[in-house]
Subunit: 661 residues, 2 copies
């Protein structure tokens, strides 16, 4: 930056910028990137600054002049139009001509002699004209003539201030001492589903309509209409690969299994194949591809589980023993987190000398399935494989297939969860699963949406998973399931449930643990999907509200508002132009009716404090006329423990009363 | 960082680190540098991490193991012993042996078979023994024998856990896949005066005891005892160089001067010389050197003004016309900030083709005076010269003379003021001059001491300067002067006043401006230093309190505490070990007595809430026995509008009542 002492402009405090540019920010196609920076020089000279952006393959940068804000802050924005990568940086310099224009006017206004200053201005124009196109040169030389011949100061100053002249002078300014920020910052641009997705997880082997029978891809196909009716657009299947026999787990994670036990789908690989094969009981590879295609007809994408680990029977063990750890007695190392041992699973040894071959093979698995039409991968325990591997894998895959979405299942420490998002995961599981009180929810969501994390960490909220049946769902009954679904679906624009356990409000846990009793991880379950009290219609309604209301399709726009009741969470989401405003009030207590006053930020919404406005509850279709900031709500867990209001501002004219019909 | 896929450790969020390591942090000799970072790996392996530090000339890094804190946070510290530069960075890796030790114990406690695990441990020890010194190798091999021969699990685990073994294994660990942070961060280490200094500014030409006579260096020498008595340790002189005649300013900044007008000392340079010469009326170069040496006898340092600008008569103008700007009519460009014109001053043209020669000459000025014994420079308007110049100049000078202190007089926008501190200025003028209300003071000082700025921005608080007579000193009378002095002296460990205008409570301003009437910038003033109501004794007392109490010798340790009166500012400063606690209560209202309750954080101080404690007012020598948190103060502007309490915790034994005597 300091090659030439005459480069006087400083560019600092550039935002967004993650870890000094080490990591990209994330956007979806069509989203804005607003870039701000402190840009200044010594002295009182005016400073010009441009935001530069381009695709990596473009040879030229596009330039956008940055607008001046308070205290040397500059701002400009560009639209990340297409999927892939964009680069951005900043350039700036001393704007001698604007300085001259400004000073000339000040001197003239103070009745000072400006004759020599005019000569200085003519010098600037002469210089620029030598860099100009023939046409522009002609225009600039005409200005010089005007400045030379004009006799009254008033007129000279007015000519010198002309917009056309300023624009031409900017176009041909002296850039010899321009300063470049020196870093190319990057944006990963995904498709819209990266920020707005609604997930339904289900074990395909439990999808058979006949009790006791092993479900198939065809059974999955058969329930697609119901999944679509519930409003889900991602159907995520736990691993569909052959399952190992050696040390296969029995029901409820028993270390001993019987002949009829089906084992954990995460114990991947057997004589029948590994990560590129499908379990023969589920069907053929063709069946799976048909499922993928059929789902597309319902606007549903099939998401696959990416679990980089092997059963002891996986073909890799024989073909690539160097990819595993071998113990001094010649036995293979099982997965373990002492004193826990996972006898049915072998970890891959990322510290092998052959790590490059291992990485290449693991990448080929993603490419293999992407070629079959899979564009979403839910990654199992990414925090137990090296970070540098993920960074490489995701960059490699998205370099060729920018539409691929990786969801990180990193239920681990905050630094690690966060780092995985930084290095490239498209979405991430979160701590939402264990955030229940008002304070916990506001604190956690503020952290996600009001800090730098919003630039790279895209939450996906899950009230339950096959691994986690949280305490509040064990004891809160059906209202707790409704509450958790409402929160997940309206706080985060991406969320998912593990069904049918969720919609059937299954609450039986292994005693003292947050785990499902008779977990589908180890056995086939048959569900009565139409069981009494099921939440399918409720879920369908919530998801329809999400689909119909753009304000609910981003996460960062959430704003929390005051209430006088600690059990009522009240928040809003609005589109940037405020054309749509959604307000949500949720009773966090599944046991008791809670009521109180919520505080609507009417002036922020552009609503006159004295005028009534309509709030339309999209859950019940109820309509209420509210006025001013404080309004009353009463939320009953025995019916629907929440409101999702669409706010309709009252029009000014009395004739518009039909809004209230 | 990702050369080898087997490097699994991540080091991020390193603090302190300014702008990704672009700028150094600052310390004084003997101060600690506490370094923290998030350090983690995939999986559950233990991680080792060392803080590395060294002087740039050292070939080897010193290593300090980093202690684990919450959530992957690690911490270690080193002492920056000597002036100059220190570098620091971090290294970490997978700690396989510690992981093994931990897992072995867990498995044993869970009654699992550990026979193969012992073999694994023996492998680790064998590997490390091959890297060990002969003696250590012997010890390690002895451990292998022990592990091989010992038969009971209990004993094996206890041998494996021995501290000696762990230490040896750490010393000879496998570092092939260690990760280095990849950046060398730096610390500029100054002498103590950089954070604790007490400045007195005075125009030498106004120092003559005889009215109407031009003061001299000898006159300055004569008042050294009085300056020392007031407790100042820096005597800062505005420019002492020959003053130009061309366009010399008259009294009160008049554009016309008479023959007897002395001109502004900042219009540097005449036939008699430039920046390396002294004004003949002040004395000879030898007189000035004697003043420097004499001051040393009083523990006072002479600080010089570094004003890089020239009068039209400066020898540079003829010798180096290329260092100035010339206008199209052949005239030279005066300093201006339209519509203001400074006809007696020419700015240097840092955009000249000969900028390197100009830089070298400007550096030679600092070196010239440093060689004469000047180690402190107050830099005039650094924000009107290029930033890259200052960064280079300060690095060059301090590379050879690490004891040099540069005070930045950048009364300008926050970004610029801040950036100058980042790029190397040792101390900085601040906005304190205009922060008066409780809210303003707490807000501003919190910004200085509770953000990253504390690492590089060292405030120097000035209640007045030759350029600024703030409104509250114009109208607040003597109490306002006492209040502002007390605040400056106890909030900031470095502060200064412009005298004798300050201690004589001079309040006559140019009407409607914050400027002194009959400013000494343009004329010689004669002062009656013993005038009635002068603050000399009061200042002496405040400065003695600063000198005697280490808690007041740093700035960042300030803590604000509650009071129930908006005009009472209550804050404390304590040494790190709490061996000294100072509490300050200041009445911010110079017109009325204000009283109220202040809240002492007794538990944070280790004072039992039920026990009385003594607060000793160092200003009045008054002693009060307080108890608990809330205590009453009454502060009268007509006597002393503040308390500076030294807190004495009551000893436990009844016999210690003599504390209250």
């Amino acid at each position: 930056m300091y090659i030439d002492g005459r480069k006087r402009v400083v560019i600092e405090n550039v935002k967004p910028e993650i870890d000094g540019g080490r990591f990209p920010i994330k956007r979806v196609a069509g989203e804005k990137v607003v870039v701000t920076a402190d840009i200044f020089a010594d002295g009182h000279d005016a400073v010009w600054a441009n935001l530069l952006y381009k695709r990596p393959c473009d040879s030229r940068w596009k330039e956008i002049p940055m607008k001046a804000g308070e205290n040397d802050r500059r701002e400009a924005e560009f639209i990340a139009e297409e999927m892939g990568t964009y680069l951005y940086t900043i350039e700036g310099g001393i704007d001698s001509f604007t300085t001259w224009q400004k000073d000339l006017r000040k001197k003239f206004d103070a009745n000072q002699d400006i004759r020599v200053d005019i000569l200085t201005g003519i010098q600037y124009i002469t210089d620029s004209s030598q860099r100009a196109s023939a046409d522009d040169q002609k225009t600039l030389l005409a200005y010089i003539d005007l400045l030379k011949t004009e006799r009254t100061g008033q007129k000279v100053v007015s000519i010198a201030s002309r917009e056309e002249l300023g624009k031409l002078m900017n176009a041909y300014r002296d850039r010899r001492f321009a300063v470049n920020y020196g870093k190319e910052l990057s944006v990963i641009v995904d498709r819209k589903k990266a920020i707005f997705s609604t997930w339904y997880e289900r074990f395909p082997r439990s999808c058979s309509p006949e009790p006791g029978k092993h479900g198939t891809f065809m059974d999955c196909e058969a329930i697609l209409p119901e999944i679509a009716k519930m409003g889900f657009d991602v159907f995520y299947l736990p691993p569909i690969h052959p399952i190992g026999r050696t040390n296969r787990k029995g029901k409820n994670n028993s270390p001993v299994s019987g002949l009829n036990d089906v084992g954990s789908p995460w114990a991947i690989g057997s004589l029948e194949g590994g990560h590129k094969s499908v379990h023969p009981h589920l069907g053929t590879p063709e069946d799976f591809e048909r499922l993928i295609n059929k789902a597309r007809d319902y606007d549903i994408e099939i998401a696959m589980d990416l679990a980089y680990q092997c059963s002891p029977d996986h073909p890799y063990v024989a073909e690539h023993p160097e990819w595993f750890k071998w113990r001094p007695d010649g036995s293979v190392q099982h997965a373990e987190n002492p004193p826990k041992i996972y006898e049915d699973v072998l970890p891959l040894n990322f510290e092998t000398e052959q790590w490059r071959q291992l990485w290449d093979e693991l990448k080929s698995i993603v490419v293999f399935w992407r070629e079959k039409g899979i564009r979403i991968f839910r990654v199992d325990n990414p925090h137990t494989k090296p970070f540098s591997f993920w960074e490489w894998l995701i960059r490699e895959v998205k370099g060729k297939y920018p539409d691929v979405i990786f969801l990180s299942e990193a239920f681990t420490r905050p630094t690690v969860m966060n780092y995985l998002a930084k290095l490239g995961f498209t979405q991430s599981y979160t701590y939402f699963t264990w955030r229940n009180t008002k304070q916990e929810l506001i604190g956690y969501i503020t952290e996600l949406t009001r800090t730098e994390r919003r630039e790279y960490f895209r939450p996906n909220f899950w009230p339950n998973t096959p691994d986690i049946l949280p305490e509040h769902l064990q004891y809160g009954g059906r209202p707790a399931f409704m509450i958790r679904l409402l929160l997940a679906a309206t706080l985060s624009s991406s969320y998912g449930i593990f069904g049918p356990a969720f919609e059937l409000c299954v609450s039986e846990a292994v005693p003292g643990k947050e785990e499902y009793l008779d977990s589908e991880k180890y056995e086939i379950r048959h569900w009565n999907w139409d069981g009494p009290g099921n939440l399918r219609d409720f879920i369908a309604r919530v998801n329809r509200i999400r689909k119909e209301n753009p304000a609910l399709q981003t996460t960062d726009n959430v704003q929390f508002y005051e209430t006088d009741n600690d059990y009522i969470l009240f928040y809003g989401k609005a589109t940037e132009d405020l054309s749509q405003i959604i307000l949500v009030a949720v009773n966090l207590d599944p046991y008791h009716t809670r009521s109180g006053y919520v505080k609507v930020p009417v002036s922020a919404f552009g609503i006159d404090i004295g005028h009534p406005y309509l709030v339309h509850d999209l859950l019940t279709d109820g309509r209420y006329v509210w006025q001013g900031e404080k309004n009353y709500v009463e939320l009953r867990p025995d019916s629907i423990p929440a409101h999702i209001f669409k706010v309709r501002k009252r029009l000014k004219r009395e004739a518009d009363f039909d809004y209230f019909m």
